[in-house]
């Protein structure tokens, strides 16, 4: 995973999982923070055929997302909860649950610190 911005870069190695059967065996989900997140107002997103860029109009900072971090971002802002996004990522990528939890929490913290997402603590959305 790679997020580039004016404030540096974080890297986590993860590979997209090829076999969903092995995912079921290895995945032991950890608990993530409760609630869900949405894209913050004043943030523009540009899908770049797999990668993406987020632009915060509030501070004019941009954040480049590579394919993995963009997938994480998309799941975070579209899932009914952070936990659901985490479980989905665990299914999709060949990564240890604890490692993914740490990566996802760090990523979420980075997004929140930079005003790119807003936390909504009202639990899962109704269908």
């Amino acid at each position: 995973m790679s997020v580039t911005s004016g404030r540096g870069k974080s890297k986590v190695v993860a590979r997209r999982r090829k076999s969903t059967a092995s995912a079921a065996v290895r995945a032991k989900p950890a608990m993530m923070p409760s609630g869900r997140v949405i894209k913050a107002p004043g943030v523009l997103l540009q899908d770049l055929d797999g990668e993406a860029v987020l632009l915060n109009l509030g501070n004019e900072q941009y954040y480049g997302l590579d394919a993995i971090s963009f997938r994480m971002y998309k799941l975070l802002v579209s899932s009914i909860s952070i936990q659901a996004a985490y479980e989905r990522l665990l299914q999709e990528y060949d990564v240890a649950p604890d490692q993914l939890r740490k990566d996802l929490q760090a990523f979420l913290e980075h997004l929140r610190e930079n005003g790119l997402v807003r936390r909504v603590d009202d639990g899962p959305r109704s269908a």
Binding site: L48, D49, V53, L55, L57, G64
Partner: protein
């Protein structure tokens, strides 16, 4: 392990820099769109320093985002030096963010103009990124260019002032067919055009024809107009060759290549040639299309060159154009391309006459702007423009006014090349 990484150690103490023209040709080669799945995967044997220089040159020549995208699309990321690829990716993301910001601004501008019923043709980057490249991250944009009918210029200016925009430079510095304004935070510059070409006795792009043939488009969420493909090809050729003397890097060639491919099925080449001939642009269009076909495999039919009376392009002319491209966009600021054209006249009297025209025509346009609707202001603008040009470029102007000036030494513009383009 990648070849480039293996070679990096032995290259680290060998700081041999690549010739700019060689870097330009290599980047053009990397940008060639593969002819299909059957194309042989070309092996690259670039050193680490070569890769680094290619990444830097691609950035300077305005095609770093496009190069990154093409490398990624072809699945060749692993064949590129990691740090060079990261530089290219950074350019790609930066450009995407910048264009995102510009389109956000354009949406507000177009909405305001639509509210005032001012018709707009979206020109150059904003149109190309959205409609030709389709992926708005691929085309580097420095500003937003819109064309409005001449009588709507004051209304458009007032509309943008209502959004907080202000004149970026004094009107006497403007070149006579557009006015440049900047957003309150200076992050977005908008050029409001009312003509497509600089005043010239050689070339003309009648704006009435352009409005007549304009077609609908949807850009930045607004219903606007756009140039038809034939006018677009001619305008792009004119812009890069005549206005910028090819010093816009590779971006312009990529624009034309993508435009031809995008509208390949509907592009009427006979109309392109007929319009180019009628406007005195046949050599300009032929040379530019030749460069695209030669270096990017742009699908231009042979018959087009024959009809443009340029079936064969002089290799010296082609080499000069490539040198101009390789010199990059930075050099254009050193001396206005318009002045080069003016001063490429053969006789001293011809030069002086064109120089007067170059000074007076834009000042007359400034006179038509809302703030300058009196004769006194018109005279003031003419004097200020003459002073500005002499202060900024006086020494070079005096040098070029001399009768025997075959080559503009030090500035790298070959007057023979200018004469060829104009003839």
């Amino acid at each position: 392990m990648r070849l480039a990484q293996v070679r990096s150690a032995e290259d680290s103490d060998r700081h041999v820099s690549m010739e700019p023209e060689k870097a330009t040709l290599l980047i053009l080669n990397l940008l060639r769109i593969p002819a299909g799945a059957t194309q042989v995967r070309q092996r690259w044997d670039f050193s680490a320093s070569d890769w680094q220089q290619l990444a830097e040159s691609a950035d300077q020549l305005g095609v770093a985002p496009l190069l990154y995208f093409e490398l990624r699309k072809a699945g060749r990321e692993r064949d590129v030096l990691t740090s060079a690829l990261q530089d290219l990716q950074r350019s790609f993301h930066q450009n995407a963010a910048r264009n995102l910001r510009l389109y956000h601004e354009l949406a507000a501008v177009l909405s305001r103009l639509d509210g005032l019923h001012v018709p707009v043709i979206v020109l150059k980057g904003a149109f190309l990124a959205s409609e030709v490249y389709v992926n708005p991250a691929l085309r580097v944009m420095s500003d937003l260019d819109i064309l409005v009918p001449p009588h709507d210029v004051p209304a458009a200016l007032e509309a943008l002032k209502g959004l907080g925009y202000g004149l970026l430079i004094p009107p006497w510095i403007n070149v006579g067919w557009h006015v440049e304004v900047a957003s309150p935070d200076c992050l977005a510059h908008v050029e409001i055009h009312w003509q497509l070409n600089a005043p010239s006795k050689y070339h003309d792009l009648p704006v009435e024809d352009v409005w007549r043939s304009a077609r609908p488009a949807r850009i930045a969420g607004a219903d606007v107009s756009a140039l038809p493909p034939e006018e677009l090809v001619i305008h792009l050729c004119y812009h890069t060759a005549v206005l910028h003397l090819y010093r816009q890097g590779l971006r312009s060639l990529a624009d034309i290549d993508r435009t031809v491919r995008r509208y390949k099925s509907s592009l009427n080449w006979q109309e392109v040639t007929a319009l180019s001939l009628a406007r005195g642009l046949h050599k300009v269009v032929a040379l530019t299309l030749h460069l695209c076909r030669q270096h990017l495999d742009t699908p231009v039919p042979d018959s087009t060159f024959q009809e443009l009376h340029c079936a064969k392009i002089d290799s010296n002319i082609e080499q000069t154009a490539l040198r101009q491209i390789s010199s990059g966009p930075g050099a254009i600021e050193s001396f206005p391309a318009g002045l080069w054209r003016v001063l490429s006249e053969e006789s001293p009297m011809g030069k002086a006459g064109m120089l007067v025209k170059y000074i007076v025509s834009p000042a007359r346009t400034a006179y038509q702007l809302p703030r300058a609707q009196s004769r006194i202001m018109a005279v003031y603008y003419v004097l200020r423009r003459a002073m500005y040009l002499m202060q900024s470029y006086g020494r070079t102007i005096l040098l070029l006014l001399r009768p025997v000036t075959r080559d503009a030494q030090g500035a790298g513009v070959n007057l023979h090349f200018l004469h060829w383009l104009a003839s």
